[in-house]
């Protein structure tokens, strides 16, 4: 640490004084940690003392644990961005925001009041519309929102709330009060990040966390889950979280929350509507879904009645909602409350609808669709911030929003004048927001930074439950204006500290509290398919690396034109070409094998290169992340990191051999994790079936290429190496390499885990187990294919087994792959028609 203040030998007391003395919030700006005279507030003292207890290097070490945890759990990992590995929108700022429970109660009361008010407004806008017809709200403030969903106007909710999950962005103003800066009612994000931040930080500084009576987050999630489940009839309580998919910026959170809460993570294509009810397509047929936690915007939810261009929605969903057979959290159209235009009317609506003033004020806002407000804005434009009244307004003429009138140049001011004349409905102005500051840890010291706080509220049968914590966004810049919050920053955990000890709650059930259940988790077809392909791609990667390893050994003593194993070298290099592992066919020249090695590891445009294969495996894994052990996700990331790069110049066979072996070790680790950690009921079999089919096919290809009748010993040796069977062979046969025993070992010996016969036997096990799934489509066809393979291999003789015989087995394995695809993955709605609809 560079700071001279932290000389070794200073005691904790001294370090504490230095920390406090070096922390200088701006004059006139409230700070969370210190009061106006610079004295630390009592509820922050434990944090300060913990930071001062050791050298700055100790603090850095502890915080690094939190960073590592987040990296390992995949928070930093998003699939489709190639250029940067760490693109989490809000990385962790390690110092938590500390709020005493007494102050928190005020926020809770304010948000419970606001949630109730918003629900009442929503019910009116989609119901009788009295607030508008009675003149309390201009119609254009509602109708102008792209999130006012007309097809659901007048739809009965059976008394259920439309607003089930709500978030408010808060800031503390110069007067020390908390202000509501905006409402999130469409599909609020951040809850999962809040949870993840809590887990990371509580692991990094467990003593401090344990000693401060921090209110726990788990009871909130428990309450939410049971509240969602309690709203539907028994037997239809399956809860799905509907995500736009892995391209969405908050997909990590969807996967994370689904896993934590036990929701089924689905995309639109996983769902289908039949007879006005919603079903998920699973490997066990269609299964009813009673509740959808909606994480995509309403307009994309149904291409039939809403945006017809949506590829991510569920055709007929609006009809299912209309029929009352499924509950959406939040209801379609809830996003209408996010309009800035509405903010200015909320205080008066609170008095009208609740007979109360807002407990937490919202920022003063003027909607310019009214003449008096428009005139006020025109007169005071210097002192106001301007913004679009609605989400997704196109052709906003100013550089950014909100933007302060005082910062506008002449042309922008003219454009604003035109807009206010022609389209005043589209504009709001509000008081510029100034935020309070909290400390961040930077270079061994604390620095004040402005922040906003997102707090989450969910509907429960008794009322509303507020998450005791939240998602705190800390600006990277010193700028105190709220608008600078849009441009990146970090996030901090939020600790609400109680004066009395808090109880332990986790979502892990207490012993005896939950009845034992071994029912299959109704794996969605799409998830099963991705597991299957992940298995196939991993296996193909492994085989490719084995070929590379084999070729590395061969090029040391042989060349394309000479050497005792020249024939094996040529055939191995050709194999890589035939597999598409090289960018093009190598010229028949010296050094071609070495070029093939480099291509087979790193070629970006060869579909069969290791690099391409691991990217495909990760793509398949990315959409089923919630089903994989975090360690497996990490190992797969490591595999991608290793091969998703250009080949180093002058990389020789030694380096390539090392890369191949390291890759094989990582794959072995992934296999081991799957073998040991994946539940046998939930998709492991599909991963396995993919691997076994692929291994059987590839072993067949090895056999045909290296064990024809005229194959020299060097080729048979290569086959033994590729099928990892040298040790068995040497133990069994005290002679040189002969064709028949090698063929027996690679194809027919059911005791050899690398043989085709072994793969077939495993496939038979898996298929007979899948037959237990409640699928009316019998698996007779698949079983017949496998049994045919086994019978042929049992009858076959190693001496007479021909290339054609082997090819026939490979073809039947491909038939099996097609049959599995048809039975379990096909999204055909026609097939679903015959299926179980319970």
């Amino acid at each position: 640490m560079s700071d001279a203040a932290f000389r070794p030998g200073r005691d904790a007391r001294g370090r504490l004084e230095t920390l406090i003395g070096g922390y200088r919030p701006r004059v006139g700006v409230p700070d969370e940690m210190v009061d106006s005279s610079g004295r630390p507030r009592p509820h922050w003292l434990p944090v300060l003392e913990a930071l001062a207890a050791g050298e700055p290097a100790d603090v850095a070490r502890a915080f690094a644990i939190a960073d590592r945890h987040q990296r390992d759990s995949g928070v930093y990992y998003r699939v489709y961005s190639d250029d940067s590995g760490a693109e989490r929108p809000w990385p962790l700022s390690h110092v938590p925001l500390v709020l005493p429970e007494q102050e928190w109660r005020h926020i809770v009361a304010g948000l419970v009041q606001r949630a109730g008010l918003l629900e009442t407004i929503l019910a009116d806008l989609y119901g009788e519309g009295r607030l508008v017809s009675d003149g309390h709200l201009p119609g254009a403030v509602v109708a102008g929102s792209p999130d006012f969903v007309r097809p659901v106007v007048g739809m009965d909710t059976g008394g259920r709330r439309r607003l089930q999950v709500y978030a408010a962005d808060l800031g503390r103003g110069p007067d020390g009060r908390w202000w509501v800066l905006g409402d999130r009612t469409q599909a609020p994000s951040g809850m999962g990040y809040a949870l993840e931040n809590r887990i990371a930080l509580s692991r990094a500084i467990p003593d401090l966390y344990g000693g401060m009576n921090v209110l726990r987050l788990a009871p909130f999630f428990q309450a939410w889950r049971s509240s969602l489940g309690a709203q539907v009839e028994r037997g239809h309580t399956r809860i799905a979280m509907l995500t736009p998919g892995p391209l969405n910026e908050t997909y990590f959170e969807h996967a994370y929350l689904s896993r934590y809460l036990g929701f089924l993570l689905v995309e639109g294509g996983d769902l289908t509507v039949r007879d006005d009810a919603l079903f998920v397509r699973t490997v066990g047929g269609l299964k009813r879904v009673g509740v959808v936690v909606r994480r995509l915007d309403s307009e994309f939810a149904d291409p039939v009645e809403l945006d017809p261009s949506s590829q991510i929605g569920v055709p007929g969903l609006v009809q299912a909602v209309r029929a009352g057979s499924v509950i959406l959290a939040n209801a379609l159209g809830s996003g209408v409350l996010e309009s800035r235009g509405l903010l200015g009317f909320i205080p008066a609506l609170a008095r009208k609808l609740l007979g109360q003033d807002l407990l937490l004020p919202n920022i003063a806002t003027w909607w310019c669709g009214q003449a008096a407000e428009r005139d006020h804005v025109r007169r005071n434009i210097q002192d106001l911030a301007l913004a679009p009244a609605f989400n997704r307004v196109r052709d906003w003429p100013l550089p950014g929003a909100p933007v302060e009138g005082a910062m506008l140049g002449a042309p922008e001011r003219a454009a604003m004048g035109t807009l206010l004349a022609e389209r005043p409905y589209d504009v709001v102005a509000h008081e510029p927001v100034r935020l309070s500051t909290m400390p961040v840890w930077q270079d061994g010291r604390l620095t004040p930074r402005p922040f906003t706080l997102r707090v989450f509220v969910v509907s429960t049968p008794d009322g509303w439950e507020v998450l005791p914590g939240g998602f705190c966004r800390v600006s990277e810049a010193q700028d105190l204006r709220a608008l600078s919050m849009q441009h990146g920053g970090r996030s901090a955990d939020v600790w609400v500290t109680s004066e009395s000890p808090v109880g332990q709650t986790t979502l892990l059930p207490r012993p005896g509290a939950v009845p034992v259940s071994r029912v299959i988790g109704y794996l969605p077809s799409r998830a099963a398919e991705n597991l299957f392909w992940m298995g196939r791609y991993l296996e193909r990667t492994e085989a490719t690396l084995r070929v590379v390893r084999c070729l590395c050994g061969l090029v040391v003593e042989n060349s394309e034109t000479s050497g005792p194993a020249r024939e094996a070298l040529l055939r191995t290099a050709d194999l890589l070409v035939a597999w598409g592992a090289t960018a093009g066919p190598p010229a028949p020249r010296r050094g071609a094998a070495a070029a093939a090695i480099a291509d087979a590891l790193y070629a970006p445009r060869a579909y069969g290169s290791t690099r391409s294969l691991v990217l495909e495996a990760r793509r398949a894994a990315s959409v089923i992340r919630e089903r994989l052990a975090p360690d497996a996700v990490r190992a797969l990331s490591a595999l991608v990191d290793q091969f998703d790069r250009p080949a180093a110049a002058h990389e020789g066979p030694g380096e390539a051999l090392e890369a191949a072996e390291s890759g094989l070790r990582t794959i072995a680790a992934i296999s081991g994790l799957a073998q040991e950690n994946m539940n046998r009921l939930s998709g492991w079999r599909f991963l396995e079936i993919g691997r076994r089919i692929e291994r059987g096919i590839l072993t067949g290809r090895f056999l045909r290429r290296f064990a024809d009748e005229n194959a020299p010993a060097s080729c048979l040796d290569a086959l033994l190496e590729l099928s990892d069977s040298q040790i068995t062979y040497r133990a069994r046969y005290l002679m040189g390499t002969e064709r028949a025993p090698v063929v027996d070992l690679a194809a027919l010996d059911a005791g050899n885990p690398r043989s085709i016969a072994f793969q077939a036997a495993r496939l038979r096990d898996h298929i007979s187990n899948l037959a237990d799934l409640p699928t009316p489509d019998a698996l007779d066809q698949a079983a017949a294919i496998v049994n045919g393979i086994i019978a042929d291999l049992t009858d076959a003789d190693a001496v007479t087994l021909s290339a054609d015989d082997v090819l026939a087995v490979e073809n039947r394995l491909m038939d099996l792959s097609n049959e599995i695809t048809l039975r379990f993955f096909t999204q055909s709605d026609l097939r679903g028609e015959a299926e179980d609809q319970a």
Binding site: A140, V304, P424, S828, L830
Partner: protein
């Protein structure tokens, strides 16, 4: 005047489609000057589910779902409609357009309210050059209908009716640039111009009579579904229909099928398979005074 309408839509998918879900806007709505005496839908193949309802704007709609595989879909809609003449208000007597604009924003949320027709919609973005084009007809204080009728005439004069120039997916920016299009394009363009100035404007889909009365010219758009614009002229005058394709107000020859914010709200057939590529669609429309026998174009 009583008309018989036949409207046949044929989808040829080129392959067997195993599943389709559609929303139909094929049965005419009632209007102040228009009564629907009878209407029916014949669909082949027969849908597995069929539900009749009304959409937000009060248009009759029909949800249909097909589960059986089919390679073609034929929807035959018929209706008998009585249309009364519409008395157009004196344009100079309608309120100034800037007054209309202020009134509109405060209206309620009912299905006929101007607030729904004030903002950009999926197919009608508000574009500065389109707004600028419209604004020359709206000098300060000008009565709203006078301005709108001038705009109606200008579009007819400045744009060429050309069915080859556009399709349903052509954005209005391209229509503005090339100055060509069909009724749907001109309606969208006029709506964008009016809304850009803060004047509520709605999309009306419907029909024109196929053969003109003796001595009158056949109107453009008569052999298919037609589209025009309804302009909100203040609380008293309400919605006035203007047809920029023919530079006339909507009259006794204009039969209203549905009203919405743009074509997307009232497309005769919308839905899932329909939205995917690779199919051929043909539409035949015949509108004739009642009692003049079966439609010639559609016989058989």
């Amino acid at each position: 005047m009583i008309y018989d309408v036949d409207h046949v839509t044929t989808y040829d998918y080129g392959t067997r489609i195993s599943f389709a879900r559609c929303l139909l806007h094929l049965q005419p709505r009632e209007e102040q000057h228009q009564r629907v005496l009878a209407s029916s839908l014949r669909i082949d193949p027969v849908p597995d589910e069929q539900t009749v309802a009304r959409d937000f704007f009060g248009n009759p709609i029909c949800h249909v779902r097909f589960a059986a595989p089919h390679a073609t879909l034929v929807i035959h809609a018929t209706a008998r409609i009585r249309v009364e003449p519409i008395a157009l208000p004196e344009p100079g007597a309608t309120p100034a357009w800037d007054v209309v604009r202020s009134e509109a924003a405060l209206a309620d949320l009912g299905r006929d309210s101007p607030v729904h027709q004030l903002f950009a919609s999926r197919l009608v973005p508000l574009l500065p050059d389109v707004t600028a084009y419209a604004s020359t007809s709206f000098t300060p204080g000008r009565p709203v209908l006078a301005g709108a009728m001038e705009l109606n005439r200008r579009i007819h004069a400045d744009f060429t009716y050309d069915p080859a120039a556009t399709d349903v997916a052509t954005p209005i920016s391209a229509v503005m640039r090339h100055r060509r299009g069909v009724c749907q394009d001109f309606a969208h363009l006029m709506i964008a111009g009016l809304r850009g100035l803060g004047i509520p404007a709605a999309y009306v889909s419907g029909y024109l009579r196929t053969q003109p009365p003796p001595g009158r010219e056949r109107l453009a758009g008569a052999d298919a579904t037609h589209a025009w614009v309804a302009v909100w002229c203040g609380i008293r005058a309400g919605w006035i229909g203007l047809d920029p394709t023919n530079a006339i107000p909507a009259g006794v020859d204009h039969l209203v099928l549905a009203r919405g914010r743009d074509y997307g709200d009232v497309a005769p057939v919308s839905g899932v398979v329909v939205a995917s590529a690779g199919h051929r669609v043909s539409v035949a429309v015949d509108v004739r005074p009642a009692g003049e026998g079966p439609p010639q174009a559609l016989a058989g």
